[in-house]
């Protein structure tokens, strides 16, 4: 027994427990790989102060095997670090600091590489360039799971340096090394601006590519919403090219590293910090190890804890530490500095959402920062109302593809599970319109029937039956899985949306053409698991979520109420007009009065009566009410414009 006891390496552990990192199934493995690579790229670009431009290439190599290449225009990585970053688990710069960033532990990309090696045996390929004249460092590595150490395969264990310029380019083409050298859609265009630095990682892995819910496409789209300063170029396995262009040129403010806040420190940690501290007096200790503790606050704390301000940190025993801990809880200390968090901001939230989600009404709200367990965090919510839904935007080609890919047995299930926010009610409506059976198998549809389906999907009014589409983000990274376990979803469910003009049955998401985007920015996002899919519910986080949701909900309610009112005015008139003809006919039949004279007189009266509605309808030719003041975090788009955008894009 004793002989078989031995160390377990982190890598070995995760190789066996890949689901903990989000590699539970081939479909998710593909997404997680891309996600980790893109997140790292964005972090790197932002830290270096570069506007991020990301290229994502997914290519099918064999059945169930895909090659994923992600390149950025970031600062590049110095040669020495490359193998460690990509070939060693738990190696990173982000774990030990309290600062808002996408990645946290330094597991992600190396785990993806490890998964690739495990499933296909192909090494991870990394190319990195740090400036225009410097060479591209090219490595092929794999992770030694026993030792948790990188193993470099090319250049006799030392990597290869590819010189800059045409000579290097030729060498790369010869050896089949991928590198995007120029910006723009056409990489061969010699006049385009050169990509002077950046990193590209290529991983081949066993995976499955699928569209829609929980897909790579969805991830990139959602990333574009929350990161309006990023441009993403995406080539999918079928060779389709798509790009999400940035809508702003300003980088988010650089988040700063912070010291822990006293409120978030538990007794055990406080004692450990006291032991480790190099400060000689309590006052020094408090002011130097915590944020927001000024000498005055330190004095207050010490007085409350009955400790001398000048007492040596080494003399503090358990009892004193406990008193100090109690004193911290009872003393009012200002919230941690917020510059450690870079919220997206209401303006950019609106821009990002508007860029990707079509709608007629947008509202955003950024809550002031708050603190859970001493970690500052900030909640932002943006909401888009109206416009067309995914199901309505889908092209016929994509629909055909989706139908081919699906393994669902009935059309109804196919509609509900493929398209976000399409409730069962809307699915029924679509099927009713097509006159196809609910239980019909999607695989057996004829071309003509697909046409019918496509037409119905675009024509049926989906707004009412459709459920709210909730996009969750943590530090600008979309969370696509485990919605039920997430504090964000729970807050949306728990909110009462009925006063805001949406219908909602008990315990479920509200219905309506609504996309709700919720972003939690924090120096340390409390995920429920290592695969980073759901935010844990701390009471402070729930409270902020609730308040933010209410803030946008109120605005939505105001807008919807006004819309209803304007529509009613308009309807009023049409109702009168509808009945006038009948009244005139009936009256003239009774007393032989001239029907057309009477009708015209009544018409004049009706117009006079509804003149109020006229004013509001006719100014700029659409329903608008000028006295509605929704504040500046709101964007209202002309519905006609929405339609125009759709046809052009």
């Amino acid at each position: 027994m004793a002989a078989s006891q031995r160390d377990i390496s982190v890598s070995e552990f995760f190789a066996k427990n890949r689901h903990l990192l989000g590699f539970d199934n081939p479909r998710k493995a593909l997404l997680t790989t891309i996600k980790e690579a893109v997140d790292n790229s964005l972090d790197a670009c932002e830290e270096a102060g570069l506007l991020p431009e990301i290229w994502v290439h997914v290519e099918a190599t064999e059945t169930n095997r895909y090659k994923v290449g992600v390149q950025d225009n970031g600062p590049g990585i110095v040669k020495r670090q490359i193998p460690l970053i990509f070939g060693k688990l738990l190696y990173g710069s982000k774990f030990h600091r309290l600062r808002m960033s996408r990645g946290q532990q330094g597991i992600g990309i190396s785990a993806a590489g490890m998964y690739g090696v495990l499933t296909t045996g192909k090494p991870v390929k990394i190319s990195s360039k740090i400036s225009k004249r410097k060479p591209i460092h090219y490595y092929e590595i794999q992770i030694d799971t026993k030792k948790n150490k990188p193993e470099i395969l090319n250049g006799r264990g030392d990597g290869v340096d590819i010189p800059a310029g045409t000579k290097g380019e030729a060498w790369m083409t010869k050896h089949g090394i991928e590198w995007i050298a120029r910006y723009g859609e056409d990489p061969t265009d010699a006049n385009a601006k050169e990509v002077v630095s950046g990193t590209r990682v290529t991983i081949e892995l066993e995976a499955k590519y699928q569209r829609r819910r929980g897909s790579v496409d969805e991830y990139l789209e959602q990333t574009a919403i929350a990161n309006p300063h990023v441009t993403i170029h995406y080539v999918d396995p079928d060779g389709g090219y798509r790009s999400y262009n940035r809508s702003t040129d300003t980088l988010p403010a650089e988040p700063k590293e912070i010291k822990p806040h006293p409120y978030g420190v538990e007794l055990g940690r406080l004692i450990a910090m006291l032991k480790a501290s190099e400060a000689s007096t309590m006052s020094q200790f408090l002011t130097s190890s915590f944020s927001r503790v000024s000498p005055a606050v330190a004095r207050k704390l010490c007085t409350a804890a009955e400790i001398k301000v000048r007492a040596s940190t080494r003399r503090i025993g358990r009892g004193e530490a406990d008193r100090l801990y109690q004193a911290i809880q009872q003393t009012k200390i200002s919230a941690p500095k917020t510059d450690c968090i870079a919220p997206i901001g209401e303006e950019l939230l609106l821009k990002g959402l508007h860029q990707v989600v079509p709608g007629e009404f947008y509202v955003a709200s950024t809550r002031p920062p708050s603190v859970y367990r001493g970690n500052p965090f900030q909640i932002e919510v943006a909401l888009a109302y109206g416009g067309t839904t995914v199901a309505q935007r889908v092209t016929r080609e994509t629909l055909v593809e989706l139908i081919q890919q699906t393994d669902l047995r009935t059309l109804r299930q196919f509609l509900i599970h493929t398209f976000d926010g399409l409730g069962s009610g809307s699915a029924e409506n679509i099927l009713k319109e097509t006159e196809l059976g609910t239980r019909k198998s999607p695989a057996k549809l004829k071309a003509k029937e697909i046409d019918q389906l496509h037409e119905a999907m675009q024509n049926v009014k989906l707004g009412e039956g459709q459920t709210m589409n909730v996009l969750r983000y943590a530090n600008r990274v979309p969370l696509q899985f485990q919605p039920a376990a997430c504090a964000i979803t729970q807050s949306v469910l728990n909110a009462n949306w009925r006063p805001y003009g949406l219908s909602q049955s008990r315990g479920s998401l509200p219905t309506g053409p609504v996309t709700l985007m919720i972003h939690m920015a924090s120096v340390w996002v409390p995920f429920t698991s290592e695969s980073k899919e759901a935010v844990a519910s701390y009471p402070e986080i729930q409270k902020e979520l609730r308040l933010a949701i209410q803030a946008v909900g109120r605005k939505l309610g105001m807008y919807l109420r006004r819309r209803v009112r304007v529509r009613q005015e308009g309807e009023r008139r049409s109702i009168f007009l509808r009945y006038l003809g009948e009244v005139a006919t009936a009256v003239s039949e009774i007393n032989a009065a001239d029907r057309s004279t009477l009708y015209n007189q009544l018409l004049v009266l009706a117009k006079k009566k509804t003149a109020e509605a006229d004013v509001k309808l006719d100014r700029r030719g659409r329903p608008i009410e000028e006295e509605l003041d929704l504040g500046d975090n709101v964007l209202i788009v002309d519905p006609n414009e929405v339609a125009d955008n759709l046809t052009t894009s």
Partner: protein, 387 residues
């Protein structure tokens, strides 16, 4: 389109001119009222005012119990129905349609059922998918509105309801020229028509001494089969539940013109009480017709709350009161025309205390003909009834 309409109107107008000379004075008066209603629309429209109709309110809040006449009268409250009001526009339009439909009927000298009128007027509104009337239940209250608004009776609008209720007994009458002997109607009885005005029905010969009105057809059948009316020399009627206007009007005419007392045999439950109340004082909904419908001297001979013990009925015939029954009973006890009648207050209180109701049929548990051979004759000889 407009042209077509105009031509149609002209046809109607000329036809009207031809027919008008043949119209009776009552029809002429009704037409006058209808034309007046239409003329007001034209004149208000010309003066750029809101076209409206002031329709007398048909609800409990607008009825008064006239203690002297002892029946319900309609008050003076009216509801204004505006064309240019979102929730009233449709019913305004429907009111005008009913008016034009009735005018057409009068001019052509034809009668139709209210269902017939509903079909006559139902059509799709031009340029929409909406119908003028969706269901008959949309149309019926509008007809009643027109009746109260014009102050015309239903038959004056050439409308009748479905006929319900039968009659048998020692009475001969003339129904639209046909001589009818109500003592020779077999087991089916004479179906009481919806319109029983003197112009349609004339009483010829009557040997009966009183009228027994029972609630339902089944009970009436029992009495007819046992030839109760022959033995006791009476007229036997039923109204299939809440009696329709035809039955009530006929009872009223028999009572007033032939001077016969009316006795009612109804279930011992709030609904039975209310049927009695309607026969006696008139209904709240049709309060404007009480004058010719109500029979303030009608009497209630059964069933009584005390009958369970008095007749020794088996416990199995009891039907428990539900919340609705109790609520209704208290409501009825509070009506002004029951409020000051001690016997009635006692009766209702006793039913509530019993906490069960009794149907007339429950007497069958004693004997099939118990009700005709013992119960009713006993009550009549004892003069044991409620007033």
């Amino acid at each position: 389109m407009a042209k077509k309409k105009i031509r149609r109107k002209k046809v109607v107008a000329t036809k009207a001119a031809v027919k008008r000379s043949r119209l009776g004075p009552r029809d002429r008066k009704t037409i006058q009222e209808l034309v007046g209603m239409a003329d007001r629309v034209v004149s208000t429209a010309r003066r750029r005012r809101d076209p409206h109709l002031d329709i007398p309110t048909r609800s409990l809040s607008n009825v008064k119990f006239n203690r002297r006449k002892r029946f319900i009268e309609m008050g003076n409250n009216t509801n204004r129905r505006l064309l240019f009001n979102l929730s009233q526009a449709k019913s305004y339009m429907q009111t005008m349609l009913v008016g034009s439909g009735c005018k057409q009927l009068i001019e052509q000298g034809k009668n139709t059922s209210i269902r017939g009128l509903y079909y006559m007027l139902k059509h799709t509104i031009e340029g929409t998918k909406e119908n003028t009337f969706e269901e008959q239940s949309d149309c019926d209250p509008i007809i009643e509105d027109v009746e109260v608004f014009l102050g015309s009776l239903r038959e004056e609008l050439h409308l009748y309801a479905d006929k319900r209720g039968e009659m048998v007994g020692n009475l001969q009458l003339e129904d639209n020229g046909d001589l009818i002997d109500c003592s020779r109607m077999g087991s089916g009885g004479y179906g009481i028509p919806s319109i029983v005005e003197p112009s349609a029905i004339k009483f010829k010969k009557c040997r009966a001494k009183f009228v027994l009105h029972v609630e339902k057809g089944t009970v009436w059948q029992r009495f007819n089969e046992d030839k109760f009316w022959r033995k006791h020399n009476c007229i036997l009627t039923h109204g299939a539940g809440q009696p329709p206007r035809g039955v009530r009007r006929l009872l009223n005419r028999i009572h007033n013109e032939l001077d016969l007392p009316i006795f009612c045999l109804l279930d011992n439950d709030p609904w039975g009480y209310y049927i009695y109340s309607v026969i006696k004082q008139g209904s709240i909904n049709l309060a404007y017709e009480s004058q010719r419908m109500a029979i303030p001297k009608a009497r209630y001979i059964g069933l009584r709350s005390k009958d369970y013990e008095r007749c020794n009925l088996s416990p199995s015939v009891r039907i428990d009161l539900n919340d609705n029954d109790r609520k209704r009973a208290r409501q009825i006890a509070g009506y002004p025309w029951f409020e000051h009648k001690k016997a009635w207050q006692k009766e209702i209180a006793m039913m509530l205390k019993n906490n069960f109701k009794l149907e007339v049929e429950s007497l069958i548990s004693k004997d099939i003909s118990y009700v005709t051979e013992q119960y009713v004759p006993d009550r009549l000889t004892d003069k044991d009834w409620l007033d």
